[in-house]
Symmetry: C2
Subunit: 254 residues, 2 copies
Amino acid sequence: MSTNSPAPARPPRIVLVRPLYGGNVGSSARAMCNMGLSDLRVVDRQYRDDFEAHKMAMGGQELLKAATFCDSLQDAVADCATVIACTARPRRWKAWKCLDPREAAVLLAEQGQAGNDSAIVFGSEDKGLDNKDLEWATHLCHIPTDRNVSSLNLSQAVLLLGWEWARGQNQLHRRPARTRNRASPAMEQVNGAADQVGSLLDRIDFFAGRNRDQALATIRQTLLRSELTDTELHFLRGVVRKLHWHVDHGERVE
Amino acid sequence: MSTNSPAPARPPRIVLVRPLYGGNVGSSARAMCNMGLSDLRVVDRQYRDDFEAHKMAMGGQELLKAATFCDSLQDAVADCATVIACTARPRRWKAWKCLDPREAAVLLAEQGQAGNDSAIVFGSEDKGLDNKDLEWATHLCHIPTDRNVSSLNLSQAVLLLGWEWARGQNQLHRRPARTRNRASPAMEQVNGAADQVGSLLDRIDFFAGRNRDQALATIRQTLLRSELTDTELHFLRGVVRKLHWHVDHGERVE
C-alpha cells in the first residue's frame, strides 16, 4: 500500500484545459491528493475560483490554492517529455496510438524513472480537447467505458488516471487476496441459519443475562466468515434442527 | 475494450447507505453507467432526490430513476452471496481480510462467473459505514490512497470500483502498448527544433501559398511522434543549422 512505500519519483502533473466548473476543479484537486499527485495546472481558466471549488476540494484545498494558471497548453507542458492527452473517444489521431489508463500509467512510471517530466491533460467538460490542443501531446489516452455512456465526469477521469499511476508505483507491495470460486449460499440463507440457531438458544435460555442481538450478530458473522458451501450450510441447519427437536422432545421427555 | 466484448455476466449492484448529497448520488449513477453497472440501491436515504442529483447524473438519469430504495442494508443485500463493504481505513474488522479494489474485482468476477449475486456497499459521505452495517458484509475493501488524504469522494470511489470490475472483465481484450524508457527531449526542445526548421523554410520561401501554421504543426508532430533521443534531436538541429548556413552563404555566394 502507498502508505508503506517511499514517495515515487516525479509524479505526472495534471493539466486541466479550459475547465468550466469550479466543483470539478476542486474535486480534481481532491482526487490528486488522494493519489499522491501535487502539481495542478489550469490553462485558460473559464471557471470561477469559487466556493464550489473549495468545497469540493476537501483535503485538497492547499493543492488547489497552489495551482498554476497558464495562458496556453504549450506553457503548461513546455518542460515535459511526455504529454498524455485524454480523449473521450478512442480516436486514432494522426499516427498516434491511443493508450488506455493502465498503459498510460506504465509509460508515466517509466518516464518518471528515466528522470523525465510528464503531464496528463484533460479538456473542458463540454468539448474536451480540440485538435489544436492535441498538437502538444505525445500520446493519447482513452478511458474504455460502456458503449452507451462514454463521457466521464472530469474529476473522475483525473481520479482514475491518478489511481492507475499510483497503483502502478506500488504494485510490488501488495499480496494477492484469498478468493473463492464456487456456489455460495445467499446472505438470506446464512441469516436464516443464524436465526435458527437463535431460536435454539432461546429454547435453552442461553441468552439470559446476555445481549441477544450482539450474540446473534456474532453467530451470523462467524457463519459468513467461514464461507460455507450450500452443502455445508444444509448440513449445519440439519444439526441445529435435530438439536432443537431433542431439546423439545428428547431427554426431558424420557 | 468493453465496447467489443459481450456483456459480462451478473455485474455487482452498488449500494449507497445513507448518502447525504444528491450530487454524489447522481455522479455515482453516471459512474455506474460509464462502467456498465446498472443496479443502484439506496438504503435509508437522507438525500433529496433533487435537481443536483439529476444534473450530475448526466447519461445516468434513467439508472437514477430506476434506483431501488431500501429500508435497510439487510434488504438491499439479502440475495447476495458476496457483499463487499468499502471502508476509508484499511481496518481489520474481526477476522476479515481487507481487499484492495483490484482484489475485490477479482472476487466479484469469480462470483459472477459462479452465478452468485454480489454487492459493493458504500457508506455516507461523512461517517462511512458503521459496525452495524459491516455485519452484513462478507468482505471489506479499502482503496489505498496517499497517507495524508485518505478520504475519497463517494462517487469517485464508486467509479474506481466499477472501473476495476469492468477492466477485469475485459483485460484479455487489450494488448500492451509500446513504451519507451530512455532520456527524451523536453517538449520545448522539440518545439525549438521545429521553429528552427520553420526559419529555414521561411528563408527558402517554402510557405508561399501554404498555411504556415499548419505546416509547422505537422513538422512538430512528426518530430514528437518519432520519439527522438536527445542525441538524435541534437543531430537534427545540426543538420538544419548547416542547411540554413548554406542557404544564406553557400552556393549563391560562390
